[in-house]
């Protein structure tokens, strides 16, 4: 939730002489200062009424960390151009680089043609076609995740003795998944681009929260019991995940 009219950028000079733009946002429910870096850039959020000097001091204190994080992301980001109607491109899909091409068709539809993904959209391939294509990709990726999640759930629910009350899939800003107090699992749409094992880890992680609601050792033991190789997948998401979120934003739009 953003407070209306209270967002603008702070400029921070780094020891190396660069300037970093940080989005500043007063948040009505914030309890402390918080600096986050996502594929969209850096952002600092703070409780309403915090003195600007305090925010600035906080940023200066963490300037080195911020610079390092932005560098890491920049490396991952240097790649795909924005999605353009009619122009073929490469996208990650379930961890594999897949060719995405366009074709003229009677109805907008995504087709899997061997290892290619074909967007079949009525011509002309203009801005309107791009909007239809983005919406199609959204549904297609959602369907991909659902298919995998359906099997993972069928396998583990009985073993765990608990079941979620529902599964929602939508683009999430910084999380990969969450479990709400009504036992509903929410998963990030970007997981459709990640290898199936990474998706499996996130689903198992959320399922285990049905038994243990925190991240205590007891929780991790539960995760390990269902999925012994969870550590590799968590590390993979930590290092490569941001690039996937950026990739998703390019495909389905902001």
């Amino acid at each position: 939730m953003t407070s209306s009219g209270a967002s603008n950028y702070l400029e921070l000079s780094t020891p190396t002489g660069d300037t970093i733009k940080v989005l500043r946002q007063a948040h009505p429910r914030a309890r402390r200062l918080r600096l986050t870096v996502t594929s969209g850039g850096a952002r600092v959020s703070y409780p309403e009424g915090t003195h600007p000097a305090q925010v600035f001091a906080f940023l200066r204190k963490h300037a080195n960390w911020l610079e390092r994080k932005l560098d890491e992301l920049q490396l991952d980001q240097a790649g795909p151009p924005p999605l353009r109607a009619g122009v073929p491109t490469l996208i990650p899909l379930r961890g594999e680089t897949t060719r995405l091409s366009w074709r003229d068709g009677a109805y907008p539809q995504v087709e899997v043609d061997g290892e290619r993904l074909v967007l079949s959209v009525p011509k002309p391939h203009n801005q309107r076609a791009l909007v239809a294509a983005r919406s199609l990709l959204h549904s297609f990726l959602q369907a991909q995740i659902r298919r995998d999640v359906s099997r993972i759930l069928a396998r583990h629910i009985d073993e765990l003795g608990r079941a979620p009350s529902g599964v929602r899939i939508k683009p999430l800003k910084s999380l990969w998944g969450s479990l709400d107090s009504r036992d509903r699992i929410t998963l990030d749409l970007a997981l459709a681009l990640a290898p199936p094992d990474a998706l499996k880890y996130v689903v198992v992680h959320e399922l285990c929260h049905l038994r243990v609601r925190d991240h205590s050792p007891r929780f991790w033991n539960q995760v390990a019991a269902l999925y012994p190789e969870w550590r590799d997948q968590r590390d993979w998401l930590k290092t490569r995940g941001h690039a996937l979120k950026a990739e998703l934003a390019r495909l389905i739009g902001p």
């Binding site: 009677a106 109805y107 907008p108 539809q109 959209v121 009525p122 309107r128 909007v131 239809a132 294509a133 983005r134 919406s135 199609l136 959204h138 549904s139 297609f140 959602q142 369907a143 659902r146 298919r147 999640v149 359906s150 099997r151 759930l153 069928a154 396998r155 629910i157 009985d158 073993e159 765990l160 003795g161 608990r162 079941a163 979620p164 009350s165 529902g166 599964v167 009504r182 036992d183 389905i252 739009g253």
Partner: protein, 304 residues
Amino acid sequence: MWFRNLTLFRFSKSAAKTLKGLEAKLDKHRLRPCGPIELATQGFISPHGRDEDVLLHEVGVFSLLTAAREDKLLPNSVVSDELGARLRKMTEKAGKPVGSRERKRLKDEVLTDLLPRAFTRLSKRNAYLDTESGWLVIDTASRKVAEAAVSLIREALGSFPAAPLVPDESPRVLMTDWLARGRLPAKLALGDECELRDSGDGGAAVRCRRQDLESDEIREHLKSGKQVFQLGLVFDERLSFSLDEDLVVRKLRFLDQVQNELGDTEAESAVAELDARFALMSLELRRLFDNLQEWFGLPRPMDK
């Protein structure tokens, strides 16, 4: 007692085994009347009516039960009016504003005074279990109500891992394909209503009622990239319903063919009539669910 809407859950074979002795377990969670200062109570009542004893109506592998709750009807506006009046009185008396702690105490006092005088409302929700195929069917289209009913069953059983439907095939993609190409599975025909939407939040939406779904208007919407979020369907000329993207069945109607089959048998009592209807409905629906499973891919949770 025909179900009007269906929210579905699935459970494994081993979970089905835990359903033995269900009636005794339900009995421990029988609905009791709301106490004078209680806001709500929930529990099970007999499918034959609140005053009956039997909590489970069984026909073969199908068991019908009724989850119910009693709510006190006390509108917030009534509470805040009364609270406002008392606060004014107190402020005048003390000559200074009332603190937040005192205000909270006063609100509790108002609730305690008004609750015993409030009306109670009973709401019932029928549900049935198919222990052979592992379906839990709840007569509601509301996710919240369905979840409340499942939690109540879970509470009675201790643990009951019933999972919501997560289909292999995206209903949205599949139903759009049915409508766009007119290629419906055998036994299925288009009804006369649908909801088309651009996917993503805040996209355009079109709802049609009493509309020929094969008309050019609908085609144009599909061409511009809208997808089917809800679709009116007729199954085997016996059931008509509207299916949404979460596979919630709405506006379920049993068509003349089914009603006629029931009409032949003259029911002797209310219980016998319920028995006949439930038997017919559960068998009809089992055929529908078998087909839903085939079209959308709905794996039953596996055993340990």
